[in-house]
Symmetry: C2
Subunit: 452 residues, 2 copies
Amino acid sequence: MKIVIIGGVASGAKAAAKIKRLLPHASVKIYTDDTHVSYSSCGIPYYIQGNFTDYKALLVRSPEEFRKSGIDVYLESKVEKILPLQKSILVAHPDQAELVKYDKLIIATGARPKIPEIKGINNFDGVYTVRKIEDAINIREKMLISKKAVIIGGGYIGLELFEAFVKNGLTVDLIEHNDYLMHNLDDEMSVLFREKLEENKDYNFKIYTGEKVTEFTGKERVLKSVKTASGKEIKTDMVILCSGVKPNVELAKDAGIEIGETGAIKVNKIMRTSIEDIYACGDCAEKTHIVSGKPVWIPLGSTANKEGRCAAMNAAGVYAEFDGVLGSTVTRCLNITVASTGLTEKSAKNIGFTPVSVIINKPDKVAYMPDASDITLKVIADKITGLLLGAQAIGSVGADKRINTITSALLGHLTAQEFNNNDITYSPPYSTTIDPILNAMQILCTKTERDC
Amino acid sequence: MKIVIIGGVASGAKAAAKIKRLLPHASVKIYTDDTHVSYSSCGIPYYIQGNFTDYKALLVRSPEEFRKSGIDVYLESKVEKILPLQKSILVAHPDQAELVKYDKLIIATGARPKIPEIKGINNFDGVYTVRKIEDAINIREKMLISKKAVIIGGGYIGLELFEAFVKNGLTVDLIEHNDYLMHNLDDEMSVLFREKLEENKDYNFKIYTGEKVTEFTGKERVLKSVKTASGKEIKTDMVILCSGVKPNVELAKDAGIEIGETGAIKVNKIMRTSIEDIYACGDCAEKTHIVSGKPVWIPLGSTANKEGRCAAMNAAGVYAEFDGVLGSTVTRCLNITVASTGLTEKSAKNIGFTPVSVIINKPDKVAYMPDASDITLKVIADKITGLLLGAQAIGSVGADKRINTITSALLGHLTAQEFNNNDITYSPPYSTTIDPILNAMQILCTKTERDC
């Protein structure tokens, strides 16, 4: 049994390890054009910030460790073509080309940063994307000798780097071309989040939304400033492009594998693509949204791990299903926790639900406890059925775990009415007698057409 | 419309406020033999510890505030008899007796500490139970002039006071007559919890289990020591009795109201007792366990609030159901968080499930993050159906919120298989790529007879 995996960051590495455990005698090979394998790209912003100092902590498993467990890893080896009929792939190693046969193929090619169209974008040093270990090392090195940085993009990666830079003393301009930061939040929650960020007076930063970078200026290779559509010129030593990512599907597409409506590789419940014996998982694969039942593309490390495991099991002949995602996320920015799960009110409306929602602001523990702090929670349900659709939270540590409590309810397709009296843990150091989640549910119940 | 409520700590106070909101013109009266109304008894250990200094912070709403909103509160007014046929109660005020008519009666008489049979228990000062505001004040005053304390009982109240005393520099002996602390945990989790407590070398304490206090000794009214069944004599300045509580049902029983098999007042889904127009809620009322469907008596402040609200709605003519409890709890002791929800493995077996379980010990966030710490998690499912039955966690802050994630799953009657790929939030400062809960579920799946 020959199992070939293309890509080895999260889902590819997970798949390889799982298969080897299920089929100890199978041949398992990972091919990747990357210089590293099996690393935590989610940890890169925290390395850059200096939460830990050795980038090697990001490496989950080295090529040597894979080899010891009988998995061959080929770094800097780009797969140029998949030949499904011949069940082979063409690999371009640094020094030679190779044709490799497979019985089962797992595509885990991930995603890559979108590069916005900006004049002069390729003309200067000091312009970075964030994806690979080298990016982490290069950005941190440059940050330590810089005074000013511009971040283009106000999604979670942009915000995590924003935190890293301002906490390292840089003056940062964050520029988002949409009107709101964090598109996983509804607009009013995004506004609140931005207000909370801007309450921080210890750091030097400006946030621009609805603003587009149009040009990079500089001399020779030295970056000097970015210019914006509204006519601003912002001096900077470095720029990070965080304008989102797109799935790496070209190889699959070229092989005739079906691409879904989201632009990612279409897979079924067992992570199989449209072609027999070829699986896809991780950031290159399309997902199903558990609440809406619709295809979505929400690339996240936690999902990649689960999908890698599921693809591996099926490739190894052990039936397993992956039901889909809720798009649950959490981001830390200047010690504010922003978390969300399920549909936003906006997206719920677009899909055809009739959403009602509640936003509450309550202490996260009994107010007489010394470290009580507020949490703002938005919960969304369908007006007619009461079905819970999603939730968003902004607060301190703990806001994310409240979202997880709702995540399980979304997974179980519970209504606000069913959740209303949920027996969640209570003690003064941990929550209020009626936890903010339950407060929100009580109000939400009164807004739906079902009895409470 | 005359609504009378007996008792006003948690569920009674909640019920009164809710009814007044639903029926602004109704007469709402609270009668209690207590000197205070509407207070957080769960907060008493933290007042004693000194987490906040004014006991008034424990008072949620004063009698004056109730009166302002049109609710009459009668303190130190003991209800001596309920006459269901006459729809009246007999009240003994400090200075006179009164017969009060009701249209709807809500019994919220709560629970009281069990007093163990110990020789000399009534002979000395410095022996306390913990229930009321006066207890809080008296215990704190005594603690501040004491060097040694004995706590009898290793449940959550005992442990919360234990923390309070050792953190205030006292030498504490905690004596539990059962073989294990915290009966909401399975034995091996209780052992682990005790080990973690005993790792604390900053404080002076000893924990005894399987040990019974048999005698209090002293001179005149001054307590000197406690003696135990195994022959120990422990010198002490004060003793706190935390040997559990029992429901105050005598008044209801005397009125012919049905008492359930657990010894608490039997109620149906709308919190009505066996007698028309009489409701019961809070610690005096029996509850239904959502996982087992069986009657249980688990008295908790969070449940009391929900039941008070439900009883109030029905008494006011607005239909509402209370489905039951999961027995979810969280306790902080020496900065260890212990939380649980649902059935223990032991109780699941007793009820007739065929439980399988998994215990894992994992970092609560990615190990390279500076403040990662371990969490030990036990999750229990039914072997045949995969149905999740309960969970227990020991760790730092956050252990409780992981339990809440499982709580929602218990509420939705999810299986380990359904939970397995739950899309809970992930980011390195908050969890591991595969959160400990999901790790546990993956293993649990392999132990059940359902496919994963």
